[in-house]
Amino acid sequence: MSDSVIKVENVSKQYRLGQVGTGTISHDINRWWHTIRGKENPYLKIGESNDRSVKGSSDYVWSLKDINFEVKRGEVLGIIGRNGAGKSTLLKILSRVTQPTTGNIKVRGRIAALLEVGTGFHPELSGRENVFLNGAILGMSKAEIKSKFDEIIDFSGVERYVDTPVKRYSSGMYVRLAFAVAAHLEPEILIIDEVLAVGDAEFQKKCLGKMKDVSGQGRTVLFVSHNLEAISNLCDTGILLQNGMMDISGNIEYCLKKYITSSRNANLAGISLKDRLKRTNGNVLFEEIKGIKNGNETWDFNYDDEIIVYFKTTAQKETDGLSFYMALKHPFSGEIISNIKTIITENKIRAGESLCFEITIPQRTVRPGQYGLYYVLGNKEGKIYYDVIDTNVNIPMLNINPSSIDMDENSGFLSMPFKMKKNA
């Protein structure tokens, strides 16, 4: 007997871009006119793949296109992909928040989705009342919540505040309580979207532990996150989405590797300011970022190569001074090099003026492997950010291949000069 608990067949979802307004009604009427004559929806034939960086010609996009996969009982499936790849849309369809445009999904067992922690929390109600309310929204009965109430409060660690309105909670306490309710749901299938991005490190560990327990009990988990470390820790299998289409599925390590390398050769110009990180003001923008090896453009280096990164920046407004910061990140953990900070100019830059510069990292500094890069332009003091580019926003990762003489190729991040003295 096949043991699949979720079967997704040809699922697609189409969205209409732009505003809903007077123009929309003509499309609605046209669609309705086709329906009553028994014809197919005329707008399903059009639509483009969902690549947000390319300006499309059609008002309709396929946020998801022909997704097929199966999930087996007890499997922990990670869903990965860049911003806008369709991960959340897929979860929304799975959790029945919205309906697919075509295709269907078959599910065996109770399904609970956590697309957000604390859905339906009412600020005026006390912690206790909100536990009941939130639990019921997530599909628990009152009796069920009552029997688990002490456990929930215990897990959240906010015992002292149960009878205080949640609007008086710190945001951390709020999240703790909310996650505690969700963690005590006992569905056969649990869908989780990025909820671990909140709370302190200790609580995140607790959550991950709880999720491991859940999957250990033979329940199925679908997990979406940008935290690749968590994904690689928790999941056995994965699917990689790209522009609404399924790129690959299978073993999670394989998916992660593909995901990490898939970001090469992306172009910066296509990334609008809106998609760059939010806390920037956009006074000066990166226009070009290139890796250079022996005079050629590449992101593929050898351990023995000097790594040169070339930048071209253009001021959008007159700006006083410019500083630059760059970090190397390991995809599963944090930053590993964070000292590259420098002032590019102290002087005024006119609007439209371009500045170019290069950063050189000496050979044999960074151990072989794949690294995320993180670039920041800021004012002289580095307090105000003009532009931030990060591997999450479609820029290439740095790939360093082991040199032929390197024996232990994939361990460690940095190399360190050392001395050896014989017969000391």
């Binding site: 029945r96 957000e116 339906g120």
Partner: protein, 288 residues
């Protein structure tokens, strides 16, 4: 192969792109009955947190509206009140009208005001408007209590001749019809406002105007022989309003036929609403 066939039948849930118009999923709704009651509690409790008077605020609104009506319709316009003391006449009308209008307003905002929750988690969407209708019954109960207190005052101090009789039992079915109509019309409107907001603008003042086409501030008997009487007669709320006063004071103009008209109007709007709501709830997140 045979086993495979058997498996195919065993799915608990099938999410489809197209599902039947009549697939109402009422079983699901029953499963979420605890949530309905928790929503009722939330609506009721949350409104009065951090107020001193608490639920007493429910008294204030009908009292002031009654005073207003006494002044405008009683003193200025001099409209008779069917022999019922004007205070009781206006207050009874306002109490019932409040119930209808708050059901209608609440239910018609279902999608817009719950978009945040609906976008994140699935539960039968009908839970929301139903909980609104129920929590309004509590509000009605409080206002009705006020009405009874005022009636008692009239009986004791003003010698008003009122007896408790079987007609009081009529109030329950009248409320149910009122609730059904408020809910039905409300979910029709809420289904229509997810994509185009025009309706919600319209409904805001339509309800305000509707009170004048309903015998709230005047008795139906006052319209006898007037040319615009049909306008009030086609209003399915009119017989309910008159029957409500009949149940309380034994005075009112309505017929069995007009009540049947109201009930059928309620049933039709309720089922049409249910079907529309059911269709819209599946994809409203994309357009709201």
């Amino acid at each position: 192969m045979e086993e495979k066939e058997k498996n195919a039948e065993a799915w608990d849930l099938v999410i489809q792109s197209r599902s039947s118009f009549f697939d109402l999923n009422l079983k699901d709704l029953w499963k979420y009955r605890d949530l309905i009651m928790l929503f009722v509690r939330r609506d009721f409790v949350a409104t009065y947190k951090q107020t001193i008077l608490g639920p007493l605020w429910h008294f204030i609104q009908p009292v002031f509206t009654t005073i207003m009506f006494l002044f405008v319709f009683g003193k200025i316009a001099n409209i008779p009140t069917d022999g019922i003391p004007p205070v009781l006449f206006y207050m009874s009308g306002i109490t019932l009208w409040n119930y209808f209008s708050s059901c209608l307003n609440g239910a018609s905002n279902t999608f817009l005001s719950n978009a945040g929750i609906f976008g994140k988690v699935y539960f039968p969407r009908l839970v929301s408007p139903i909980s609104i209708v129920i929590s309004n019954i509590i509000r009605f109960g409080i206002q009705f209590l006020l009405l009874i207190l005022v009636m008692l005052w009239y009986v004791i101090f003003k010698g008003l001749d009122l007896q408790l009789s079987w007609t009081w039992l009529l109030i329950i079915p009248l409320l149910i019809v009122m609730a059904g109509m408020g809910l039905g019309l409300g979910i029709i409107i809420s289904s229509m406002t997810t994509k185009y907001r025009d309706m919600s603008v319209l409904i805001g003042f339509a309800v305000q105007l509707l009170i004048y086409a309903t015998p709230v501030a005047y008795p139906l008997s006052f319209l006898a022989g007037k040319s615009y009487k049909w306008l009030v007669n086609i209003n399915p709320l009119s017989p309910l309003m008159e029957a409500f006063r009949f149940a309380l004071f034994h005075k009112g103009t309505f017929s069995a036929g007009s009540l049947i008209y109201s009930i059928s109007f309620m049933l039709i709007s309720f089922f049409v609403g249910l079907l529309m709501f059911n269709k819209v709830e599946r994809t409203f997140m994309d357009t709201v």
